[in-house]
Amino acid sequence: MAVSQPSVADTVRRLVAVQLNLNGAGHELCPDEDLWRLGMTSLTCLGLMLSIEDTLEIEFPEEALQDSTFRSINTISAAVESSRKQVTQIAGEKRIHPRS
């Protein structure tokens, strides 16, 4: 029986809950909830960014490394998807132009 992979949003939600110490707090995190208003600091945001990149094996593009990217589960998930698309696109271009 195949085990389904958690979605990006589910993984992000789990990592956010760890960083913001929401586990056990009885707080149901909404996808568009403002994480900064929930007490995220620049330091916890830093840890969240590193844990997302490690767990999802992605690299946020330089332009995504700003506070607004980490505002909510939705914005983070969108940035993850965007960085994955960029990687796929670059890989595709390299297949077409292997010397570039």
Partner: protein
């Protein structure tokens, strides 16, 4: 302040670690140099004429030491990362590099060869103490004001807590200099560069070179 002869003086420099090359002079840098040169060096600076603003970049390595030596790629020699010491080390470094480029023996320790792991000169505890001291110095230099009942000890505790948290979030066990620690905890670009580099060396990975950042500078003559 460096006297330059002919009635000219050089004032500098600012020290702001950035992740991209920048040659912009910020108003904050102008204020910093103008205000503190008057307050700390010579109040008559107020009536000195500004002849020229200079801005540029000084390369800095993660461990604060320069990178000097041959790279694995044939014919590629590196001499960079001198940070604040490039000016006064220039004669020594120039002689060393000239020797090595001619196939002769260098005159400085091979400690700074570019493919090294970062040089360790302090413990994490020491690093945190340094960070606290530098932060407090910056606090008082800039005339920052806390609530009247807040003590210096409480301010120190605040900065110490920030440093401890930063080490925790970065997963770092290499002791960083205070300015690099501030760079790593102050923005996401810095955090990622430092964390990834430290992970590479911890994992025994190939070290290309210490993570670099550069520091914007401004000066006036």
């Amino acid at each position: 302040m460096v006297p330059q002869g002919g009635g000219l003086e050089y004032y500098g420099a600012t020290n702001r670690l950035v992740h991209t090359i920048s040659s912009v002079t910020w108003m904050a840098d102008v204020r910093f140099l103008a205000q503190y040169s008057m307050q700390q060096l010579d109040e008559r600076v107020a009536s000195h004429e500004i002849m020229k603003w200079c801005s540029g970049n000084r390369p800095v390595t993660l461990d604060g030491f320069p990178l000097v030596g041959w790279m694995p790629l044939a014919g590629l020699y590196l001499m960079t990362g001198t940070y604040r010491d490039g000016f006064h080390c220039a004669p020594l470094l120039a002689e060393h590099v000239a020797n090595e480029l001619q196939g002769k023996s260098g005159i400085i320790d091979p400690l700074f060869q570019p493919m090294r792991k970062p040089v360790a000169t302090r413990t994490v505890e020491w690093s945190i103490d340094e960070y606290v001291q530098h932060s407090l110095a910056g606090w008082f230099e800039t005339g920052a004001q806390a609530a009247p009942q807040m003590t210096t000890s409480q301010l120190a505790d605040y900065y110490r807590n920030m440093a401890v948290q930063a080490y925790g979030q970065l997963g770092a066990d290499y002791a960083l200099g205070p300015d690099i620690l501030l760079y790593a905890q102050g923005n996401l670009h810095g955090a990622r560069r430092v964390a990834r580099y430290l992970r590479t060396i911890r994992g025994g990975g190939e070290v290309a070179q210490p993570a670099r950042s550069s520091t914007g500078t401004a000066g006036a003559r």
